[in-house]
Each structure stands twice: as C-alpha cells, then as structure tokens.
C-alpha cells in the first residue's frame, strides 16, 4: 500500500502527523472538496481512503464512499471513516457507511499509523480475489453457492463461459485475451449491480469462467441484458477483418486448421430453492451438463435448468 487519499478537514492536525506517515513510505494526498475527490478516485485511485463523516456537507460523505466502492479494479480499497466522539453516542448506520474501520477524532499519529498498517495486513489476509479482474475467487464462490443452497429462497447460480476464447487468445495474444476477460467481468458486475443489487454475488473462477448468483426472479432480466451488452461491445475487441468474415481461422486442440465463430457468451443457470441440493458439488455437476448443452447452441445465449 502506497497512496493514501485523505478527504476532509483537520484529520492530520499537524504537519508532523503527515511527516510520520510519509517517513513510513506512504504518499499522502489531501483533498477538501467532493468533485476533486471523486475525480481522483475515478482517474487515479488510491490504495486506501481515509474520509471524514460529514465530509463536504449533505450526503457527500456517502457519495464518496460509494464512488470508491464502485471502482471494480480496486473494489478492495479499504476505507476508514473518521468520526467525532458524538457520532458514537448515537448509533452509526454501517449500511449507509460501508467502511472497513473507523477512527475517532482527534486521531493520534501512532493510532493512525497502526490502523493503516492493520488495514493493509487485513487486506492481504482476505485476498482470495482473482488477480486480473479483482473479483472474488474460488473460496468465496464456493462459500456463496453453499449459502445459496442452504437458503429457503430460490436463487439462480449462473455460470458464464466465453465461447471460442482459446482460439481468440491464440489469434490475438494473451494480453488481448485479458482485455476480453476484463470486459466480461465489468459487464457482469454492472448488469448485476443495476438490475439485481440485493442478495447478489459475482465471482471469477479463473480463465474464462465466471459465476454470478441472483434471486430467481432476476435470472431472466440479468441474463438477457448480459447477453445483449456482450453482443453490443464485443466488436470493439475484434479486428475489422474478422468482423467482416464473421469468423476466424485458428487451430483446434488437435492442431488442425479450423474455422471458429467469433466470440460469444454462454450462461448456464442452475436454480436452487426447497433445499434440493445439499452440497455445492451437486450444483457444479448439473452446471457442467447445461454448460455442455449451452455450448452446442450457436451465438450468445443462456440456458436455465429447472429440476424442481
């Protein structure tokens, strides 16, 4: 952790406090107004955000925290909220302030330093996220699936797969392949956030496999929008020649020259509820069967399995 953005007034109190942090190798950025702070988070995100409750007046403190949370690439920016003693006397709404920690003013420099270091080490501990997309990885995914099948409510566990990703990688190179993975990650997070925020989850298994979980009634709208958005954006990631030809020529797994369709998205959905599954392993078995079927269909599509 290097760069710390501090928003609000008088959090550091004295220049000495700043020096202590800087001596430890932290780069401090101070910002006192909302537009500039949000601009910084958007264009040049810090590694840690320390912000004051009541910053900028109105609901600006909340807006800023939400802006920091919205950055997918640094979804894990730890946020520390600085409070007055009075704020603790009345109960805090931590859903409104989804922060990682708090400090009470006046903050002694040793306390601040210790809390920053703690935030840092805590981040390493929970880091099961995919290094490319920064989305939660396998441990979190399995935990979420288990939680879903243990729940009384019906959900859809949705497996995304990018068709012809391997030949794309062979033809365009790995870094271009990574761009496509990031594209799918972002589209998925955005669609799920916008259409099915409550109770949802998005994770990245690895490679071109992603998983998301939404409430049953949201399965259709989310899948439809996902497929539609992928189709609208995918041409940006293909060369004009390939778009024109509607296919690309590559080698199959046996090394034979083959014609591949352009990129498409397959989503295989397993519905849960009524406690029909006991263990997450059962869900993935069903998922791989539907995935297989979904892959035989041409173009981008989604298939929903309803066994109950």
């Amino acid at each position: 952790m290097q760069r710390i953005l501090i928003t609000g007034k008088n959090i550091l109190h004295t220049p000495e406090n700043r020096l202590i942090l800087e001596a430890k190798g932290y780069q401090i950025i101070l910002c006192e107004n909302l537009p500039d702070a949000v601009g910084l988070i958007l264009e040049d995100p810090p590694d840690l955000l320390i912000t004051e409750k009541g910053f900028g007046g109105g609901n600006h403190d909340h807006e800023l925290i939400m802006a920091a949370k919205a950055c997918l690439q640094k979804a894990n920016i730890p946020i520390i909220l600085v409070l007055d003693q009075d704020d603790l006397n009345t109960e805090m709404d931590w859903d409104y302030y989804p922060v990682d920690d708090f400090m009470v003013k006046p903050v002694a420099p040793e306390t601040m330093l210790a809390q920053i270091e703690l935030a840092e080490s805590r981040m390493v501990r929970v880091f099961d996220n995919n290094p490319l997309s920064r989305l939660p990885g396998n441990t979190s995914i399995l935990r979420s699936i288990q939680k879903t099948i243990d729940s009384d409510d019906p959900y859809g566990v949705c497996y995304i797969d990018i068709d012809n990703f391997k030949p794309y990688n062979d033809r365009y190179g790995f870094s271009r392949g990574d761009e496509v993975l990031l594209m799918v990650a972002r589209i998925t997070v955005n669609v799920v956030e916008e259409l099915a925020r409550d109770g949802s989850f998005v994770g990245h298994v690895g490679g071109d496999d992603f998983v998301f979980i939404v409430r049953e009634e949201k399965i259709k709208p989310v899948c439809e929008r996902l497929v539609e958005n992928f189709e609208r954006v995918k041409n940006m990631f293909l060369s004009p020649e390939d778009i024109k030809a509607g296919a690309f020529i590559g080698e199959d797994r046996q090394g034979k020259e083959t014609r591949f369709d352009l990129l498409s998205l397959s989503v295989a959905v397993v519905t849960t509820g009524n406690h029909i599954y006991k263990h997450f392993g059962e869900v993935s078995v069903i998922a791989s069967q539907i995935k297989h079927y979904a892959k035989t269909l041409s173009g981008s599509n989604y298939v929903i399995d309803r066994r109950h």
Partner: protein, 292 residues
C-alpha cells in the same frame, strides 16, 4: 511564429485536466442520478448529447486503469463497460463553466449537430458501427474547448480576429497560435489513450487527406462538420463554412438526389436536438436563478 511561444502553447494545452461542461446538462444528470429508477442507458443517452462528458467517458474507459487502453471507440460500449456507479461518479466530478457564453452553447449545438449528420451518413453508407463515427463527430471540436480554457487571452485574440478580419476561426488559430483546434484535438485524444478510430477523424476533420487508416470515418466527420455549418446550426461567430474536400465527397458516393434525402433526414433529427437544447437551456436558467 516564434517557436518557443508555440512550444509554450503546446505545453499548456498538454497539461489540461478538467474541461468544463454546460451547467444545464450537469443539473439534469444530477437529478437523474438521484432517481433510483434511472437506468444506465437513460443517463448514457444524455451523456451522448454532450461533447465534453462524452470525451471524459471515453478517456476514462480507455485509461490503463480499466484495462482497455485504446480499445473503446463507441459511447454505448463505454457506458456498458463503466456502469451506473462510475457514470454517477463522473457526473459528481464534472466541473461546469463558471461563466456561460453563447459561444459555449453554439459549440455544443454544433458538436451535437455534427454527430447527427455523421450518424445519418454512416447508416446510409452501411457502415457496421455507425455509432462509432457519430461519437467521433460529437467530440471532433474538443480542441476548441481546450484552447478556450487553457489559453483565454489568445482565445480572445482569435475571437477578435475572426470578427474584425472576417477570416475563419481555423485560419485565426493558425495565425495566433501557430496551431489549430484539430491539432490540439489530436494531442488530447492521443494523451487520453483514445483509439485511432477516434483520433484520426478529430485530427483530420478539416483535411481528411491526412488520415492514414481511418479515411472513411474522417471523410464522414469532415462532411458532417461542413454540412451542419452550412445548415446554419450552431455556428458561433465563425461565419465561414469551411471548404469541402472533393476527395472526401467522392468517397462518400453521395449524388445530388441523395443529398436532398440526407438533408431531409438531418432536418428531422435536428428537431430532437433542438428540443433537447431548449430543455437544457431552460434547466440552466432555472439553476442560475436558484443560485441568486
């Protein structure tokens, strides 16, 4: 032209950070962002009617941070990739013009009008992604805003020269700065990591012959720029309609009959734009009245 002076202009323009937007647009978008029922698409529609916010959005989505440098050339794609929350943050961080001048509105209308022409023409040409070219049309004059913001004194001199000597803005810019807004636009687009598909039409909208790879889209934006000026929509104080490149015109394969149809179609679509412009200006006045 003094070389060190020219270098100074270049450096100043390169440092540019935040271009201001029309207050009316920001007010409208802020209202939309506060409404929980607003969709990303609805906000995207308004943003694609503003050359500054559109440029910002493209700059953001093409920044190394998001992982698609020089890749995203259409606004719709940028909006899908950035998503509601980032767009909301973009609106919060937007700066607005402190003093609004008629010229700012005129330039905005001109940009919007040019995008309309580009969209009509590229659909006619059967281009696979017409939205890409209308995006280029929308932000083709971004260099003008940069000159106004970063070189206010020279900007005034250019204005005076345009009015007094009755020369085109383009010529006045060359005379006073030793460079023109198309060149400034090219630097900005390059610095912002925009794809070549957008850089070239911006850089070459006055002379599409300069385009190396994006000849067709540069020709369309060139045509759009001139046609919308010729139709007298959003001209500012620049009274001259720039000359049309014969080669670009031939490339578009537009006959005399076609041109009538095209103009009709543009006129139709401009009604929407004019309505929107009126709405924004009302919003602006209301916001200004609130401040008083």
């Amino acid at each position: 032209m003094d070389e060190t002076k020219k270098e100074h202009f270049r450096r100043t323009l390169r440092e540019i950070k935040n271009l201001p937007t029309l207050p009316g647009i920001v007010t409208k978008l802020t209202k939309m962002a506060e409404d929980p029922d607003t969709t990303t698409e609805q906000m995207g529609k308004v943003i694609s009617k503003d050359h500054i916010l559109a440029a910002k959005l493209l700059r953001l989505v093409n920044s190394a941070f998001y992982g698609f440098p020089q890749r995203i050339s259409s606004l719709n794609s940028a909006i899908i990739l950035l998503g509601f929350n980032v767009i909301k943050s973009l609106i919060i961080s937007a700066s607005i013009f402190e003093i609004m001048e008629d010229q700012d509105i005129e330039l905005w209308e001109h940009s919007l009008g040019c995008a309309v022409v580009c969209s009509v023409v590229s659909k006619r040409l059967g281009i696979s992604d017409p939205e890409e070219i209308s995006t280029a049309g929308l932000i083709h004059d971004i260099g003008k805003v940069a000159i106004k913001m970063e070189l206010p004194e020279e900007y005034e001199q250019i204005n005076t020269m345009v009015l007094e000597k009755k020369v085109s803005r383009f010529a006045a810019e060359r005379e006073i700065l030793g460079l023109d807004h198309a060149e400034v636009g090219r630097w900005l687009a390059k610095k912002w990591n925009l794809p070549t598909k957008l850089i070239e039409p911006i850089a070459c909208h006055h002379d599409p012959r300069l385009a190396k790879t994006e000849q067709l889209s540069s020709a369309v934006v060139h045509f759009g720029n001139i046609v919308i000026r010729g139709m007298g929509y959003g001209h500012g104080d620049d009274i001259w309609v720039p000359p049309m490149s014969q080669r670009a015109f031939r490339m578009l394969e537009i006959s005399a009959v076609d041109i009538d149809e095209i103009l009709d179609e543009i006129e139709d679509k401009l009604w929407d734009v004019k309505g929107f412009s009126l709405e924004i200006q009302t919003e602006q006045q209301a916001a200004a009245a609130d401040c008083e």
